[in-house]
Symmetry: C2
Subunit: 184 residues, 2 copies
């Protein structure tokens, strides 16, 4: 797959689990995003990291959550909502111009204009926690909490870790180099 060029629409930090807070820029270190709840070189394994026993200290592969403007528009359309914002579903970086972002394979690199880079661990699984946060925005429309995991699947973005520290600013460009395709 060829390299792609996109744009950083917004950057966000989430000091708690949700929501994220819009920022003019975010600072990436080896530990992740400064001020972020998921900051750290290591993390505790949960059920998604089986067969590691729950609570095992492993390398933090979920330092950064990347989503796309276009996929969030598709989620909103699927759910018949006016819009879905990155801050409501815990994004750290929202990009535009990268088609089918969530389908990019592990090992894909995001090279940001300012020098920072992020390596993709994998797709982020849409959950009812993010669904509940979205539900709070639309209290008159029931069913969002449980509907989000189904309607956002394949469009909920990627998680990854910092390969090169740096500052990422709103509006900067990003070059995306897809990981190698699997030869079968």
């Amino acid at each position: 797959m060829a390299d792609m060029n996109g744009k950083v629409d917004v950057v966000l930090v989430k000091p708690q689990l949700l929501p994220s807070t819009l920022s003019e820029q975010i600072e990436l270190t080896w530990e992740g995003i400064v001020g972020e709840k998921h900051y750290g070189l290591t993390m505790q394994a949960n059920s998604a990291q089986k067969p590691h026993p729950k609570g095992t200290e492993i390398r933090n592969v979920r330092q950064v959550a990347i989503m796309s403007v276009e996929e969030m528009e598709q989620i909103a359309k699927n759910m018949d909502l006016p819009e879905v914002k990155g801050e409501w579903v815990g994004a750290n970086i929202v990009v535009s111009g990268v088609p089918d972002l969530t389908q990019l394979p592990p090992g894909t690199r995001f090279y940001f204009e300012g020098g920072a880079s992020v390596v993709v661990e994998g797709a982020n699984a849409p959950c009812t926690t993010a669904g509940g946060s979205l539900q709070e925005q639309y209290p008159d429309k029931p069913g969002i909490t449980s509907g989000f995991p189904k309607q956002a699947i394949g469009k909920r973005g990627l998680v990854g870790w910092v390969e090169r520290p740096g500052v990422i600013k709103q509006g900067e460009s990003v070059m995306v180099r897809p990981g190698p395709e699997v030869r079968s």
Copy 2:
């Protein structure tokens, strides 16, 4: 792709670039293999890490080199050599029972019996440095140095980084969980 179960044939450390030294066990920390030349949380980018400028400090994604008994036998056959040993071409872990090891995608996990785990960054590129080390073993058979990069392509094993520290012992079992396949 389904999980696979293999066995650790030998473990090795390379204090210098080449060769590796056989060991009864190796110790993996967040920095890689204790005593290894490539030990460190970070590394300097070289031409393989473009577009990072050469010398840029990035996360060390090449802490561990994994090869397979079966693929080394294929390389030896391709090159009409009696054998190719892991220590001659810089392996740290040589496993058996994992078909087409070098074809495993980035994000593949190796879960070792003793608890350590390694995440695959990608295939290791066969080079004339390893070819030269192999040539030294067969001084009467010219052409190995330059032949190795061609004959070992797709069979030279994988590089990766430590997800969970621990000790890996010769003879222990390993569960290999392939990374997700690319949906096109």
